[in-house]
């Protein structure tokens, strides 16, 4: 595959000020195009992206940094995995907002929502030639010479993908001063208060179920912030009751076809594989209409890495939040919770010294924020002037 620029520049790219009004307008225009396109309706990730790109939302982000004096970082390379649903557009757009000149390498396997996104990018590129020039999407082999050359002179690179994929990209020559941000393998979890759940009325549980489905099944559980493991907190008997109520509600709210046949099969095969191997752990395997739950007492790193998404939920029980002894690691990104006071979660998370970069209520797991994976993307993709210079 040759070097194929998808929205070729009509002018030479130049750096711009952070939060330049033109960029805000560009984002708004992109948002309008995406949201007005009937094709977008097939891709929930595009709808989310369209909403996020609204001028009002970008201004909100701008406000958070109004006290900072920021300069662009320079040339930034982005390696995108297969789909727009994977959030790479967000970090790329933030880099654009920061005034950088960006090159984004799309995956050869980029799917349907990428196609729609590119279509709109091409459309508005003519109206915004300067911005289009510093937001370049490319398709090429990963060892393409032009690509290597570009990266070897870049000031920053943002790498999304699997651990192996990132290591392969890392092997490329990159300047000593270059800043690198990686979004590697992530594993997210949810936490439900069983004691609260069994006291909650049906209507509210239904809302919870719908939010849970949105978070975890919009992308067949494969978004990095979608939960694959659920912590159930409460007394044993109450947990058993709560699980029953919860999963039945989730199941009755699931739309048919949310997972494809092969995904169902993959889920069944994976949960059987785990159940059959490693006999020292007592497990409980339950098949629901479209989902599978597997109770574990502990999670091995192999189980974590092999989890295919597709509607398999590991479950671990604990008597109370403080009795939950789980070895959280840096790859454990989002904890989406329900039935807890946010302060309670904050206090608990304070003592989780590694992992859990985000704790959000169930229903908000997929919401993108400029602080992602413990990285303030605006600051990471710009250079901040010393504050004493302000005086």
């Amino acid at each position: 595959m040759n070097w194929e620029l998808l929205n070729p520049p009509s002018t030479a790219p130049q750096l711009q000020h952070c939060f330049h009004p033109d960029v805000l307008e560009y984002c708004q225009s992109l948002s309008t195009h995406i949201l007005r396109d009937p094709e977008s309706r097939n891709f929930p990730d595009l709808i989310g992206l369209g909403a996020w790109l609204r001028k009002g939302n970008i201004e909100k982000i701008q406000k958070r940094y109004s006290h900072c004096r920021l300069k662009p970082l320079g040339h930034v390379f982005h390696s995108a995995p297969a789909n727009v649903d994977s959030l790479f557009v967000y970090s790329a757009v933030i880099s654009l907002i920061c005034g950088n000149i960006n090159l984004i390498r799309l995956s050869n396997r980029a799917g349907g929502s990428s196609r729609v996104f590119i279509k709109h990018l091409q459309k508005i590129g003519k109206e915004y030639p300067e911005i289009n020039a510093r937001f370049q999407l490319v398709r090429c082999e990963h060892n393409n010479e032009k690509l290597n050359e570009w990266i070897s002179k870049a000031d920053g690179r943002v790498l999304w993908g699997s651990n192996e994929g990132i290591q392969a990209m890392r092997a490329k020559e990159f300047p000593a001063h270059g800043r690198e941000i990686t979004f590697a393998h992530k594993f997210s979890m949810a936490m439900i208060n069983a004691e609260t759940l069994i006291k909650t009325d049906q209507e509210e549980i239904k809302v919870l179920a719908k939010n849970f489905i949105k978070d975890n099944l919009s992308f067949s559980q494969q978004a990095c912030s979608s939960a694959k493991l659920i912590f159930w907190i409460g007394q044993k008997s109450k947990i058993a009751k709560a699980k029953n109520v919860f999963w039945n509600e989730v199941n009755s709210n699931l739309k048919k076809g949310i997972l494809e046949n092969e995904e169902h099969y993959k889920a069944l095969n994976f949960s059987q594989k785990i159940t059959l191997s490693e006999n020292e752990i007592k497990k409980n395997l339950k098949l629901y209409d479209s989902l599978i739950t597997l109770d574990l007492s502990t999670l091995s790193s192999k189980q974590e890495l092999d989890h295919p998404g597709c509607g398999v939920f590991f479950q671990i029980d604990a008597n109370s939040l403080h009795e939950l002894t789980f070895p959280f690691k840096s790859q454990h990104q989002t904890l989406s919770y329900w039935g807890f006071d946010s302060q309670e979660i904050k206090d608990w998370n304070k003592n989780v010294l590694q992992g859990i970069d985000r704790a959000v209520e169930i229903g908000k797991a997929l919401d993108f924020t400029p602080v992602w994976d413990g990285v303030d993307l605006v600051k990471a993709l710009s250079r901040e002037l010393e504050s004493n210079e302000l005086h």
Partner: protein
């Protein structure tokens, strides 16, 4: 016990009322046997809450394993010393093949079922056999795949074996003509894998403008239709071409997989695949895994009473299909009859990880 009786009878004589209780009893015994002898299998039955004596009330409740497990794990219900033969699936390149462990008894049962089923179609006397492949496929013990094993298995039914292809998959015309001259008017058996038969035998004969004449011939073929579907070749096209080019009438496909010995489903004159007395088929809806009714398409679950040395008596396959009826096929054979409609569609990769091919 049940099996010995079954194997004495005809493979397609058992009506539903008779077959289902026998099948259930046999499967229940196998559940318990594998629970006691295969740790991995016992883990599963324990995890889904089954309790001693691990019996179910109906065949539909028999737990089932997904087929890729035999690629992912080494599953057997016999000790290492008792392993007599290991069968391998062909599998896609780069994938670990399935490993199916047989002891002497199970291997003997497998041969016996194969013979019983095939004798029904071919008659007792061994037939002169034209193998629609090249001889290297069974010579190379190292690469002894499902293809080789299949050919060797079916070769039992034949005599005066003759390979129709050269090592480079070109027609061995000399051998074919010689075989035709010697056996043209005898009941001969031809066997090969569907795709190979089409591409390297039938298409090649046509290209050469050669028509053979085997009025009493029986062409048996097996293997997936996927590659042929890509070339828009369906079963009836295949059959017509074969009948024309080989001058025969009997063309029969069969469906089965190395992971479940004893499950050999031969296509009858009506184009339907038939379950023998020792095996059965169910159709399940992906996701809910509920058993579907006759006529509804879903994933095929195969059950067989033969797998004793490994827990393969109830398998959920990746193949879609539907049951057409039971005991009511116009061909007169008893048992369920069904169609295979091909593999599940592959899904697009979603999400943000593992979407990158590491350069090699």
């Amino acid at each position: 016990m049940i099996l010995t009786q079954l194997l004495q009878g005809e493979p397609y004589n058992l009506q539903k009322q008779e077959k289902q209780p026998i099948l259930l009893e046999g499967l229940n015994e196998l559940n318990a046997w594998h629970h006691q002898n295969c740790t991995e299998y016992s883990n599963l039955l324990d995890a889904i809450g089954m309790e001693p004596p691990w019996y179910t009330k109906s065949v539909t409740e028999t737990p089932y394993l997904t087929v890729p497990l035999f690629k992912q794990l080494e599953l057997k219900s016999i000790s290492e010393e008792d392993v007599f033969k290991v069968l391998h699936s062909s599998g896609t390149t780069g994938q670990t093949p399935s490993r199916i462990f047989l002891d002497r008894d199970t291997a003997a049962l497998q041969s016996k079922t194969l013979v019983r089923i095939m004798q029904h179609w071919l008659g007792k006397p061994r037939r002169p056999m034209l193998i629609l492949d090249h001889p290297g496929v069974i010579k190379d013990r190292q690469a002894f795949t499902a293809r080789g094993a299949g050919i060797q298995g079916i070769s039992f039914m034949g005599r005066n074996h003759c390979y129709a292809l050269h090592e480079d998959m070109s027609l061995n015309l000399e051998a074919i003509i010689k075989f035709e001259q010697a056996h043209s008017h005898e009941p001969v058996l031809m066997f090969g894998f569907t795709f190979m038969v089409w591409v390297y035998f039938l298409q090649a004969l046509q290209k050469e403008g050669i028509k053979l004449n085997f009025p009493k011939g029986f062409l048996l073929h097996s293997g997936g239709w996927k590659k042929l579907q890509d070339q828009s070749v369906d079963n009836s096209t295949f059959k017509q071409e074969a009948q024309q080019l080989l001058g025969l009438n009997a063309v029969h496909n069969f469906y089965g997989m190395v992971e479940q010995i004893g499950s050999i489903f031969v296509e009858c004159e009506e184009g339907h695949l038939h379950t023998p007395a020792y095996a059965d088929v169910l159709v399940r809806e992906p996701g809910s895994w509920k058993v579907l009714n006759t006529g509804q398409t879903g994933l095929l679950q195969l059950v067989s009473l033969i797998p004793k040395s490994y827990p393969g008596h109830s398998l959920l396959t990746e193949d879609l299909g539907k049951i057409l009826g039971e005991d009511s096929c116009p061909c007169g054979r008893a048992g369920k009859y069904f169609l295979v409609e091909g593999r599940m569609k592959r899904t697009e990769v979603r999400g943000c990880s593992d979407t990158y091919n590491v350069p090699t």
